[in-house]
C-alpha cells in the first residue's frame, strides 16, 4: 500500500482511436519492425532510448525526464484475450472490464462508489468532456461531466451576471424539495440540487488558480489543465478523467505527420501537468494513467496502420516505480495474432487491480471482475 500525505487521486487520459504502440514505445533495433513498416518506421538514430531494446518516439522527449527520475511506468504488450478491433467495443472493454459479456458499469464508477459509498461529495469523480465515458457509469454515483470548466454550470446561456445569478436563485428554489409531487419529481429535484451544488463549487476552480505553466491550446492540453485546476482547488475529487478528441489516434492514413503532433501534444501536456502539480506541491497524491483501446497492425498500409491488438499504456507519478512492465510482444510473423497483430501478455485489468489496491486501498477483484496478477509498479 502506498502512503501519501493527502488522499490519493487518480487522473486518467484516454487516447481515443487506437494509439500505435509500435511507434510509441519502439523496438528500436528489431529487424521485423523495419521490414513491416517501410513507410512509417522511425529511423533508429531518432528514437529516444529507454532500454537496450526499447525507445520512445522522437516527439516524446518531455517524458524522458520522468523515465530518468524513475517515475514513469511503461506497459507493453498490454491488452486482453480475444481482441476486438472495433474502437467502441474495445474501449467498452477497457471501461467495463467485461471482454465477453456486455457490461454497463464502469470500473471507475464502481471505484467511486467504494471511495464515497454515500455520495457525500458530488465531486468525488469528475469527467472533462461532453458525455460520460462508460468507465465512470454506475447507478447512484453522481459524476459531473464538464465540457468547459471556464463556463461550466447551469443556465450558462443567460447573458449578464446579475440576470444569471437571479435565474440560478430561482432555479435553486424551484428544485428545493417539494411535497406531494411524486417519487420521480422528488428524485429530479434532488438531482437538480446536486447538480447546482457541484456546478457552484466547480466554477470557483479557475479563479483560484495561478500557475507559471502554459498548457497547449489543444483539447488534451486544456482538459489536463482543468484536471490540475480541479485538483488544486481541493474539492476532494479522487477520480479525474478525460478523453482525447474522438478517434484522433486512428492513424489509418498519413500517420507520420499526424502521430508526431499527437504524441508531442500528449508528452508536453503530461510534462506540463506534472510540473504544474509540483509547482503547487500537489503531485505527491496524484497518479496519472494514459492508455488507448488497442494498438495497431504490425505492417503499415503504405500511409498508416490499421486496427491492431496489444498496445502500450503509461502511468506516471511520484510514487510510481519506473520501468518496463510486460513483455514486448514478438514481431516474428509466425508469432502474431490472426490478422498480423501483436499478442498481448499483460492484461489491462492487472494494471487496474494494482491501482485500485495499492493506490486506492480498495478491493480490486469485484471492480475488475476477476483476480488478475498484480503488476508491482508502485514504489
Amino acid at each position: 500500500m502506498v502512503q501519501t500525505k493527502k488522499d490519493p487521486v487518480l487522473a486518467v487520459l484516454s487516447l481515443s482511436g487506437g494509439n500505435d504502440g509500435l511507434n510509441c514505445v519502439i523496438p528500436r533495433n528489431n529487424g521485423h519492425y523495419r521490414d513491416a513498416r517501410p513507410t512509417i518506421a522511425v529511423p533508429e538514430d531518432q528514437i529516444i532510448p529507454l532500454t537496450d531494446e526499447l525507445g520512445l518516439h522522437p516527439t516524446m522527449g518531455p517524458l524522458k525526464k520522468y523515465w530518468d527520475e524513475g517515475k514513469l511506468a511503461v506497459f507493453v504488450g498490454i491488452g486482453y484475450p480475444t481482441p476486438s478491433y472495433s474502437h467502441f467495443r474495445s474501449m467498452d472493454i477497457w471501461h467495463t472490464c467485461e471482454p465477453e459479456a456486455i457490461g454497463t458499469e464502469g470500473w471507475l464508477g464502481r471505484a467511486t462508489k467504494q471511495l464515497d459509498p454515500n455520495s457525500e461529495n458530488v465531486l468525488t469523480a469528475v469527467n472533462f468532456g461532453r458525455g460520460l465515458p462508460r468507465a465512470l457509469v454506475m447507478d447512484g454515483v453522481p459524476v459531473a461531466s464538464v465540457g468547459n470548466l471556464e463556463t461550466y454550470g447551469l443556465l450558462t446561456g443567460i447573458e449578464g451576471e446579475n440576470q444569471r445569478n437571479d435565474a440560478l436563485e430561482v432555479f435553486g428554489r424551484m428544485y428545493a424539495p417539494a411535497i406531494g409531487t411524486g417519487a420521480v419529481m422528488d428524485y429530479i429535484h434532488q438531482t437538480g440540487t446536486d447538480a447546482l451544488k457541484g456546478a457552484d463549487i466547480l466554477s470557483t476552480a479557475p479563479d483560484a488558480y495561478t500557475s507559471s505553466v502554459e498548457y497547449s491550446s489543444t483539447a488534451i492540453g486544456q482538459y489536463m489543465k482543468n484536471i490540475a485546476q480541479t485538483h488544486l482547488a481541493g474539492f476532494g475529487t479522487r477520480v479525474l478523467y478525460t478523453t482525447s478528441p474522438y478517434n484522433g489516434f486512428d492513424s489509418h492514413a498519413n500517420q507520420l505527420q499526424a502521430n508526431s503532433g499527437l504524441l508531442s501534444d500528449v508528452s508536453n501536456t503530461v510534462d506540463n501537468f506534472m510540473t504544474d502539480l509540483r509547482e503547487h506541491d500537489a503531485s505527491d497524491e496524484v497518479t496519472l494513467m494514459f492508455f488507448s483501446e488497442f494498438g495497431r497492425r504490425v505492417k503499415d498500409n503504405g500511409s498508416g496502420t490499421d486496427h491492431g491488438a496489444a498496445g502500450v499504456a503509461f502511468v506516471v507519478g511520484e510514487h510510481v516505480k519506473g520501468g518496463i512492465y510486460g513483455q514486448y510482444p514478438s514481431l516474428e510473423p509466425s508469432q502474431l495474432e490472426e490478422g498480423g497483430n501483436l499478442k498481448f501478455n499483460l492484461d489491462f485489468r492487472s494494471v487496474y487491480s494494482t491501482i485500485l489496491e495499492e493506490w486506492f486501498s480498495l478491493d480490486a477483484n469485484p471492480i475488475v471482475n476477476g483476480n488478475f496478477e498484480r503488476t508491482k509498479f508502485f514504489a
Binding site: 456486455i102 458525455g131 447551469l154 430561482v170 417539494a178 428524485y187 490472426e338 490478422g339
Partner: protein, 474 residues
C-alpha cells in the same frame, strides 16, 4: 380555438411525433384530432422526404459508412420528415430491437437496420420480426453468425423470445422454457451473413443475409408445444400467435407512447398501470392479424391516451428533448447541411443513438436523469428556447405581444407556459416564476425600448421554463 383542443393536439404531436411549432399545432387542431391521427397512421398519405434533395445538401449521408453521418441523417429526418409517426416508431423499435455500433462497427449497417424499422414498423408484426431476423447487423450483433448446426449459439434464439417477442413472463408465470430457447436457436441455424466478419484482409463490403441449408438443423423441434421441422420463419409465426406477444407489444406501446411503466424486467411480476388499455390493444392485435398500426390506432383514439392524467407522465428521452426543441423553435428546418453538433446532443444526455449500451437497451423514465445529464438537458433546452433570434421563438414572442398592450407578471408567465407546451407546473414552481417576473413588473411593448425589454424578458422566461423539473417530462 378552444384551449383544450390545443393542449390535446400538443400532447398528440409530442407522443406520435417529436412535437411541433405552435403554428403547426394550431393548424392541426383546426384540422381535427381524428383526421390528424389518420395522417400519422398512414405515412404514405403524407409528403415524403425528397431523397435527392437531402443527399444533394448532405452528400456525406449517402451510403455513409461513418456512424456519425448515419446518426445525423436520422436526426435530420426526425426534425424534418412530414411522416412524424414513422420516425417516432423507428425510434420505438430501435429502443427494443437493440443492436449497437460498438459491436457491429458499421454505420451503414446501423442505418439499414433503422430503415427496416421505418418501413415495416407499423405493419404486421410477423413481417417485422422476419426482417429483423434476416438483418445482417442483428444476426452479427446477437451471434447468430456463430450458431451452427453442430454447435448452436443460443444468443439470438434467447433474445428473440425474451426481448423481441414474448417477454420473460406475464401474470407472474413464465412465457417459455429453456427447451424453447434451444429449439428456437436450432431453427435459426444457417441464418447467416456474407461476407463474414472480421473484414480481413481488404476491409469490409456491405453485408447480405445468406441462408446456408447445409448448416441448418433440419431435425424435428418442439417449440412452445408445437412439434415440426421448424425453420426460423415457422418460429416467428408461432411466436406471433402467443398471447404473451400481444401483451408484450401492448405494454411496450403503452410505456413509450402513453406513460412510463416500470423497467421491462419487472413486467412478469408487475401488472400494467392500465390493464384495460393493454387489453384494448391486445384485442386490436388479434382482430387485425397482428397489425401494429391497428394497435396504435386504438391507442391514439382512446380516452386512456387523451386523459389529462397521462400528459407529462413520461420523462422525455434525450432524443425527444433535442428534436422537439429544434422543431418547436424552427431551428434546423429544411434541407441544409451542418447538423453534426445538434445530432451529438442526445449522446451528451446519455442516449448514444445507434449505439445502445446493451441488447436490453437504455433504461428509461427517471433513469435518463443524473446530475451530469440533467445539466446537459437544462442547458441545451434553455439555450435553444431562450434564443429570441430563432424564427420559432420570435413567433412565440410576437404571440405574447399579441396578448395585450400591457401584461401583468401573471399574464406573462401564463402566456409563456401556454405557448411552450402548454406546460403544466406545480404551484410551487409557478410561484417562483411569477415572483421572478414580478421583480421587473408589468410588461409593455409600445416603444422600442419597451419592446427590447419585452423580448429580453421573454427569452429569460423561456429559459427558466426550460430549466424546470416539469420540462423534463412530456
Amino acid at each position: 380555438m378552444a384551449e383544450q383542443d390545443i393542449a390535446l393536439m400538443s400532447h398528440l404531436m409530442r407522443r406520435a411525433g417529436f412535437g411541433a411549432s405552435r403554428d403547426e399545432i394550431e393548424a392541426k387542431a383546426a384540422q381535427g384530432y381524428d383526421s390528424v391521427v389518420q395522417e400519422l397512421l398512414n405515412p404514405e398519405t403524407q409528403e415524403a422526404v425528397d431523397e435527392d434533395l437531402l443527399y444533394r445538401y448532405n452528400p456525406s449521408y449517402y451510403e455513409a459508412a461513418a456512424i456519425e453521418n448515419n446518426v445525423q441523417q436520422w436526426v435530420w429526418r426526425m426534425i424534418n420528415s412530414p411522416r412524424q409517426l414513422q420516425e417516432k416508431v423507428a425510434l420505438f423499435w430501435h429502443m427494443i430491437f437493440c443492436a449497437g455500433h460498438s459491436k457491429i462497427d458499421s454505420g451503414q449497417e446501423m442505418g439499414l437496420m433503422v430503415d427496416i424499422f421505418r418501413q415495416d414498423g407499423m405493419g404486421k408484426f410477423d413481417n417485422l420480426l422476419l426482417a429483423l431476423s434476416t438483418n445482417p447487423g442483428m444476426m452479427y450483433y446477437l451471434d447468430n453468425t456463430e450458431s451452427h448446426k453442430a454447435n448452436i449459439n443460443e444468443n439470438y434464439g434467447r433474445e428473440l423470445l425474451e426481448l423481441f417477442s414474448l417477454g420473460v413472463g406475464m401474470d407472474e408465470g413464465f412465457n417459455y422454457s429453456e427447451d424453447d430457447v434451444k429449439a428456437c436457436a436450432r431453427a435459426f441455424t444457417g441464418w447467416n451473413i456474407a461476407p463474414p466478419y472480421p473484414p480481413f484482409p481488404h476491409g469490409r463490403s456491405p453485408w447480405e443475409f445468406r441462408f446456408d441449408p447445409a448448416d441448418h438443423d433440419s431435425q424435428e423441434k418442439t417449440f412452445l408445444g408445437e412439434t415440426g421441422n421448424w425453420n426460423g420463419n415457422d418460429i416467428i409465426e408461432i411466436a406471433c400467435k402467443q398471447p404473451a406477444t400481444a401483451r408484450f407489444l401492448a405494454r411496450h406501446l403503452y410505456n413509450y407512447f402513453v406513460a412510463d411503466e416500470p423497467q421491462i424486467p419487472a413486467w412478469r411480476l408487475t401488472p400494467p398501470r392500465d390493464q384495460a388499455a393493454i387489453e384494448a390493444m391486445e384485442k386490436a392485435y388479434w382482430e387485425s392479424d397482428h397489425s401494429i398500426k391497428a394497435m396504435l390506432e386504438v391507442l391514439f383514439t382512446s380516452e386512456f391516451f387523451k386523459d389529462e392524467a397521462v400528459r407529462y407522465a413520461k420523462v422525455k428521452n434525450p432524443t425527444e428533448m433535442v428534436v422537439s426543441l429544434l422543431r418547436m423553435t424552427g431551428e434546423f428546418k429544411g434541407y441544409k447541411p451542418g447538423l453534426f453538433d445538434y445530432s451529438q446532443e442526445p449522446k451528451y444526455m446519455g442516449m448514444d443513438l445507434m449505439n445502445p449500451p446493451t441488447v436490453e437497451g437504455w433504461h428509461t423514465g427517471r433513469e435518463w436523469i443524473d446530475s451530469g445529464t440533467l445539466v446537459e438537458r437544462i442547458n441545451f433546452a434553455s439555450d435553444i428556447l431562450g434564443n429570441t433570434e430563432l424564427e420559432g421563438v420570435q413567433s412565440l414572442v410576437n404571440r405574447l405581444m399579441g396578448l395585450g398592450d400591457k401584461l401583468t407578471p401573471e399574464q406573462f408567465v401564463d402566456g409563456c407556459l401556454d405557448l411552450t407546451g402548454p406546460v403544466v407546473l406545480f404551484p410551487d414552481t409557478m410561484g417562483q416564476l411569477i415572483s421572478h417576473a414580478t421583480q421587473e413588473g408589468e410588461l409593455s411593448h409600445g416603444t422600442d425600448a419597451e419592446k427590447t425589454d419585452f423580448i429580453r424578458r421573454s427569452g429569460e422566461m423561456f429559459q427558466m421554463i426550460a430549466a424546470t423539473a416539469e420540462f423534463q417530462f412530456e
